[in-house]
């Protein structure tokens, strides 16, 4: 029984004291509300009669709005538990004043009490749920709000009984003293919860912290609501639901009045009906709400009441009888304070604490009263002004219920988006500097800035003004051309070359002594140009210069900047002879570097390809890099395979990736051949995905998907990572391969298995390495799992959720789980949430493994399974643990090493461990023999 109750309530270790306090708290609040409601009803009807009720409704609307405004100003900087205590003190004071004979005898007191009770009901319940929002994270809220709601329902029933049996004994007015005592207990409970959960309340504030704009800091509740689409939708849901509730209530009164004319029979009916409604609500709350919210999420929980009212009203329109009228009221009563209330409170969870404190009470109090006023006017309009039968109200209710369903759909969408925002808020916004130096004033300012700029700033400024022509730039550009920083020098020379006139060539001659051919070729270009055009005839002296760098610079200038005629000056076939014969002083390495740099300017063709092939095999990394850069520019087919093989070299890898990606889709076939061939060196295979992700197309996706089941864990990981990157940046590609779904299931099963093993391993020093390894394996498996999920859902959001799941702040983790709960497909959700939600439970893991076709493995049998499994490192750790933990029953696994080491050729770590353990065991045996 205890276990059944525990499972049903699902209140976990560490939550019990607070949850019990919260249940008691809401129980007392609602019990008091029911009691004072009865007192006010009785007093009011006795003094003024039912005909005066519309006036008091209007008073409530006016007073509640004013109080909500004052309250939200007062409340914005006060912790909610403290606010509750102050409110409770004020309530107690009021009740004691109401009980004073002079005050009680005052004629309009019944009006005051009526309005006061309405405000009390809204304010105290709103504060309770505000506190619950801060104390519980979204995952706890889904489990526990329904239980708290049960406390409220039971409070209503208990309040009714106390009134029923207490009033004749104590007297109606003296029930106020009972209420005071109960409220004192409520205040004490609020203080207790506030202190016990101080850490969680702070976590909640941190998790939903965001940088408020100046406007948000100063804005009042109404303005915040008005500016937030989400808050407006929340307000719309509440408003429509209250309008319908009021209309339902009126319609129900009409039905009862029509079908039960006798006064005593009517009283008896109401008494009986509300008692039963209380119990129906209680049962719904206890057995349905929590499960419904957990299983189907907030969307279904929110939609159930409007759907029920739509259907109920439809039935009533067709068959307007007492029983159908009762049915509509039961539908409203059963779901309003259960599923509807729980889902409404969940809606507030993703709202930042500061905004929530400012707006929740305002929405609850103001919307409630305002909507009731609207509903009253609607009823009057339909029945009195338009003269319809009360049954016509059902048509309006059906229309409103439909509107409610639509608003619910939007609100649910925004709810998910709000969680996503709270996860993504952790990203850093990047500022973008956009300059448009088109007018003279800006160019003057730029020239001025260039005059004062250091190298780093100069490089940035030169990039910004590339292509700008202006005489004022010449002087600073000549200065910057002298910079020892080649980037600054090259950018300054490029910009100088564009200037129409006035470039003092003589000041650039010194740069011909530089060793950087890029600088020299640009200087030659300027020296041989007339305006912006290169004059080939002027190249002669530089082609014959003693310095090879200058000769090469002249060749490059001709190739790069000359027209066809300039290109003819340098016959490509004589280039090598030209460079080697004329100088003769340089060592081979230096010469190779110079020749390789010429590749930057050579046109495509066999000569360039030969050079590239030759230089790609050079010993000098600089020369190889030149060849790779040239390959990226010229893209000869012959270079593809050498480039793929060059991926194994870490010093070249970065440029090789760029070069291969420059080939585009045409290279994917070759990459696929290497990638799918398991004999390809791992260092090459591992880096092919990084090339494919730079060629985002369907073929690249298909090749990456084809290896997601590869036995090499790191290759699988690399493929998934690249798939994720492609998906983040490119829409329209297809990822819904069955193989991905299959892989997802495999990773889920693997994650559960690692969790099972982690829980199963005996916690001793000897098992520490194995436990650490299993924890790492689990995280890696879940990482791959999330990468696979990112193939089906918005990748950035899934990654943000995955990162948030590792946060030390439980509220942030819960936000991530709640977000996943709302975006994952039902089939995946069950498995994924079972892995990441709260702490792992042995029962849940065993059940999941069974359903996934696996089974839980006890200690130490799991060591045998790991030792014989496919994971080399895990097997080595398991074998070591067998020895270190003296699991003698499993020593036969170590003996395998004696005769069959050849079986372990593809598992070097396992083989090595077995070999080492054999030596250790022999040493131990020998020492035992000596002792004997």
């Amino acid at each position: 029984m205890k276990r059944w109750l525990q499972k049903l309530l699902d209140i976990r270790e560490g939550e019990r004291a607070t949850t019990f306090a919260m249940i008691t708290y809401i129980f007392l609040i609602i019990a008091v509300l029911t009691m004072v409601k009865s007192v006010r009803q009785s007093l009011f009807l006795q003094k003024f009669g039912a005909a005066s009720l519309p006036y008091v409704y209007l008073m409530i609307a006016a007073v509640a709005g004013t109080i909500a405004t004052i309250y939200q100003r007062f409340a914005k900087n006060v912790p909610v538990h403290r606010l509750i205590v102050w409110t409770m003190g004020f309530v107690i004071l009021n009740l004691l004043i109401f009980r004073l004979p002079v005050v009680a005898a005052w004629e309009p007191m019944a009006y005051v009490l009526y309005v006061w009770v309405a405000v009390y009901g809204i304010l105290t319940t709103a504060q309770f749920w505000l506190l619950a929002n801060e104390v519980y994270d979204p995952r706890q809220a889904k489990r526990l709000f329904a239980i708290l709601g049960t406390g409220a329902t039971l409070g209503g029933i208990a309040g009714g009984y106390i009134t029923q049996y207490g009033a004749p004994v104590l007297g109606t007015e003296n029930l106020l003293f009972v209420s005071v005592a109960m409220i004192v207990v409520c205040a004490a409970l609020a203080i207790y919860v506030g202190r016990a959960e101080a850490g969680r309340i702070q976590d909640a504030a941190r998790a939903l912290r965001y940088k408020a704009s100046a406007a948000e800091k100063t804005a009042g509740g109404f303005r915040l609501i008005w500016e937030s689409r989400y808050l407006k939708l929340v307000m719309a849901v509440i408003s429509i639901s209250i309008i319908i509730a009021t209309v339902v209530d009126n319609q129900f009164s009409f039905v009862v009045q029509e079908h039960i004319p006798d006064k005593d029979a009517k009283t008896a009916f109401f008494g009986q009906f509300f008692t039963w409604l209380g119990w129906i609500g209680f049962l719904t709350q206890f057995f349905v709400t929590g499960r419904l919210v957990r299983r189907f999420g907030i969307g279904v929980a929110m939609a159930i009441l409007p759907v029920a009212l739509f259907l109920g009203s439809g039935v009533f329109v067709l068959v307007p009888m007492l029983s159908t009228g009762v049915l509509v009221k039961i539908a409203d009563g059963a779901f309003r304070y259960t599923t509807h209330k729980a889902s409404l409170e969940l809606l507030y969870l993703p709202i930042p604490v500061g905004v929530k404190n400012k707006t929740k009470t305002f929405i609850d109090v103001f919307t409630d009263r305002f909507s009731k006023g609207i509903a009253a006017l609607l009823v009057l309009l339909v029945t009195s002004v338009l003269g319809f039968e009360y049954t016509a109200l059902s048509w309006f209710m059906m229309g409103l219920a439909l509107l409610w369903i639509v608003v619910t759909i939007f609100a649910r969408r925004e709810y998910v988006a709000a969680f996503r925002d709270s996860l993504m808020r952790r990203r850093i916004d990047e500022d973008e500097l956009i300059l448009s130096p088109t007018d003279a004033a800006t160019v003057d300012a730029m020239a001025e800035a260039l005059n004062r700029a250091d190298d780093m700033r100069a490089a940035r400024l030169l990039e910004l003004i590339s292509g700008v022509k202006s005489p004022v730039l010449v002087t600073p550009l000549v200065r910057l051309a002298q910079s020892q920083n080649p980037i600054v020098s090259i950018r300054a020379l490029d910009l100088l070359a564009l200037q129409d006139s006035g470039v003092p060539a003589v000041q650039l001659l010194g740069l011909l002594d530089r060793t950087d051919v890029e600088v020299v070729s640009r200087v030659v270009r300027i020296l041989c140009s007339d305006g912006a055009r290169l004059k080939p005839v002027r190249l002669g002296p530089y082609l014959a210069d003693d310095r090879p760098v200058v000769r090469l610079g002249a060749v490059m200038a001709a190739l790069r900047y000359g027209d066809d005629a300039a290109g003819d000056i340098v016959d490509p076939e004589t280039l090598e002879r030209f460079l080697t014969d004329s100088g003769g002083q340089e060592d081979r390495r230096q010469l190779d570097r110079l020749m390789a740099s010429l590749l930057r300017a050579l046109p495509p063709g066999p000569i360039a390809t030969n050079y590239m092939q030759r230089f790609l095999n050079s010993d000098d990394p600089e020369v190889r890099l030149e060849a790779i850069r040239a390959a990226a520019r010229l893209r000869p087919r012959e270079l593809v395979e050498p480039l793929v093989r060059a991926l194994a070299d870490r010093r070249l890898r970065y440029r090789v990736r760029d070069a291969l990606a420059a080939y585009g889709e045409s290279v994917i076939g070759t990459l696929a051949d290497y990638f799918q061939d398991r004999r390809t060196p791992r260092a090459v295979r591992f880096h092919i995905p990084r090339v494919l992700e730079r060629i985002p197309c369907q073929r690249a996706v298909d090749v990456l998907v084809s290896v997601v089941s590869d036995p090499d864990e790191s290759v699988r990981f690399a493929a998934l990572r690249s798939l994720g990157r492609i998906r983040s940046q490119n829409g329209g590609l297809v990822y819904t391969h069955e193989v991905l779904q299959q892989k997802l299931r495999e990773e889920i099963a693997k994650s559960y298995r690692y969790q099972d093993w982690q829980l199963g391993v005996s916690a001793t020093d000897a098992t520490a390495l194995l436990r650490k390894t299993l924890a790492e394996k689990y995280w890696k498996a879940t990482d791959r799992l999330f990468r696979l999920l990112a193939m089906q859902h918005p990748p950035d959001d899934v990654y943000a959720a995955a990162r948030a799941l590792r946060s030390p702040n439980p509220r942030i983790r819960a936000n991530a789980v709640e977000y996943l709960d709302n975006i994952l497909a039902p089939g995946d959700k069950r498995w994924v949430l079972g892995l990441v939600d709260d702490r792992p439970s042995r029962e849940r893991i065993e059940r999941a493994l069974k359903e996934l076709g696996d089974e839980s493995t006890p200690w130490p049998a799991l060591l045998e399974r790991q030792a014989q499994g496919p994971d080399d490192w895990l097997a080595a750790c398991a074998l070591y643990t067998i020895w270190a933990d003296r699991q003698t029953a499993l020593f036969h696994l170590l003996d395998k090493a004696d005769g069959s080491l050849a079986d372990w050729e593809d598992r070097p770590l396992t083989k090595e461990t077995l070999s080492a353990l054999r030596v250790k065991r022999a040493a131990t045996q020998s020492s035992h023999d000596t002792d004997r």
């Binding site: 870490r650 080595a876 750790c877 461990t913």
Partner: protein
């Protein structure tokens, strides 16, 4: 001769490598070389270009600058790590104070390993940043108190 697992167990005890996954440490163990130094034997000299870092398994090493002993390093501790990262000449000379058993991790092999294992890079970054923070907070505390 230590097995890979024994090397992993030795490496994970060192603060620098403690954040690296056990599988990552197995890769590191594979490139680590076991070396022995006799008492008074030099590991490296001040001003030398660094080519490796060391993890002391047994024995001890004195670090000296200009002939003066600045620090003594014992089992489980590393030396020569900073130079491995910045490539600057050795700031100290290192000499074994007793027969010393150590793991030597060569710079080239280490970089090769890092280039293929970004998870190891991330773990090292975490540890190094934590070291820097600690140094900064140690420097800041007396000033703050003053």
């Amino acid at each position: 001769m230590l097995s890979t697992i024994e090397r992993v167990l030795a490496l994970e005890k060192n603060e620098l490598f403690a954040e690296i996954s056990t599988e990552g440490l197995a890769h590191l163990a594979a490139i680590a070389e076991e070396v022995e130094f006799h008492a008074n034997e030099s590991l490296f000299e001040e001003g030398a270009i660094p080519d490796a870092c060391y993890l002391i398994l047994a024995g001890g090493v004195d670090l000296t600058r200009s002939g003066r002993t600045e620090l003594s390093v014992g089992p489980g501790e590393d030396l020569g790590v900073w130079a491995l990262f910045d490539g600057e000449p050795r700031a100290f000379s290192a000499k074994a104070t007793a027969n010393t058993h150590a793991l030597r991790i060569g710079q080239e092999e280490f970089y090769d390993l890092l280039s293929d294992h970004t998870d190891i890079v991330q773990s090292l970054f975490r540890t190094l940043v934590r070291r820097i923070r600690r140094v900064l907070s140690e420097q800041a505390s007396p000033a703050g108190q003053a």
